[in-house]
Amino acid sequence: MKQKRTIEKKIDGLSFSHSHLPSPHLIDQLVSIPDLLDKKRNQKNKLFITLSCVSVVFLFCFNIVLFQSQSNQENDHSFSSYYSNFNEINIYENE
């Protein structure tokens, strides 16, 4: 019983250490958090701008290629129709 009381007393008198303080190096790091976050934000912004530029350029090139291929197709189509008409005329003439 006496032992139990001693243990209880010891537990109640227990205190957690405050001698473990953050190192000055950690404090410096904490103080520079806003700069670090700004730097990260700038990097993110730069990355976003670069990606946007790349995607705009890509879309522009893609559109040009698409437009060119479409116009080529149209040319082909008009040429083939002209050619077929021409053939038909020739057939009638031969007849």
Binding site: L14, F16, P22, I27
Partner: protein, 187 residues
């Protein structure tokens, strides 16, 4: 400077105000993290994480409590999450447990080396009993043993009612004493 002024400056992104908050609260935030996690390196990382959260989400602070209570609540929550992550990792044998460092103030009144050894052994047992407690009990008990925290403050930090905190600390204390009695009987 008062909390309100400091808060206004901080919301505006004032570096000096943030620096002042770091100097005012870093010791306590680090102490909370270290006492709950019991590892220096992790406590440092968590302290950084806490202050990053403070800087980025100061605008979400609703001012229902004191600024310090809000800051310490972030520290407790982050430590709680970290402990949960460690417990999850413990189940996977690939991860090695990190070394645990003593968080107690060894108030030694012992004169002889044998008494000193016994006292160290006693603290080791308290330590292992504490680590076997459920997380909420462990956090409440640890905070109650840190200087300056009243039950009211602990209930604010843990977002629990006062009676819940009292019951957690009571149960934690009981379990630790039971464990130590077992150890004493086996001796």
């Amino acid at each position: 400077m008062e909390d309100k002024d400091l808060l206004l400056l901080l919301i505006k992104g004032d570096r000096k105000a943030f620096e002042q908050i770091v100097h005012m609260h870093s010791n306590m935030v680090y102490s909370i993290c270290f006492n709950l996690i019991q590892n220096k390196k992790d406590a440092e990382d968590l302290t950084q994480d806490v202050f990053t959260t403070i800087y980025t989400s100061i605008s979400s602070f609703k001012q229902n409590s004191k600024l310090s209570t809000w800051i310490y609540r972030i520290a407790v929550n982050k430590s709680h999450d970290h402990l949960r992550m460690i417990n999850r990792k413990k189940r996977i044998p690939l991860f090695k447990a990190k070394p645990i460092e003593s968080v107690f103030n060894l108030q030694t009144h012992s004169s002889s080396p044998i008494e000193l050894l016994e006292e160290k052994e006693f603290y080791d047992y308290v330590f292992s009993a504490l680590n076997n407690l459920p997380q909420n009990q462990r956090i409440a008990f640890t905070l109650s043993k840190m200087e300056g925290f009243s039950y009211n403050e602990i209930s604010d930090q843990m977002n629990l009612s006062l009676s819940a905190v009292e019951s957690l600390i009571f149960r934690a204390r009981k379990k630790i004493i039971e464990e130590l009695n077992k150890y004493d009987n086996n001796k």
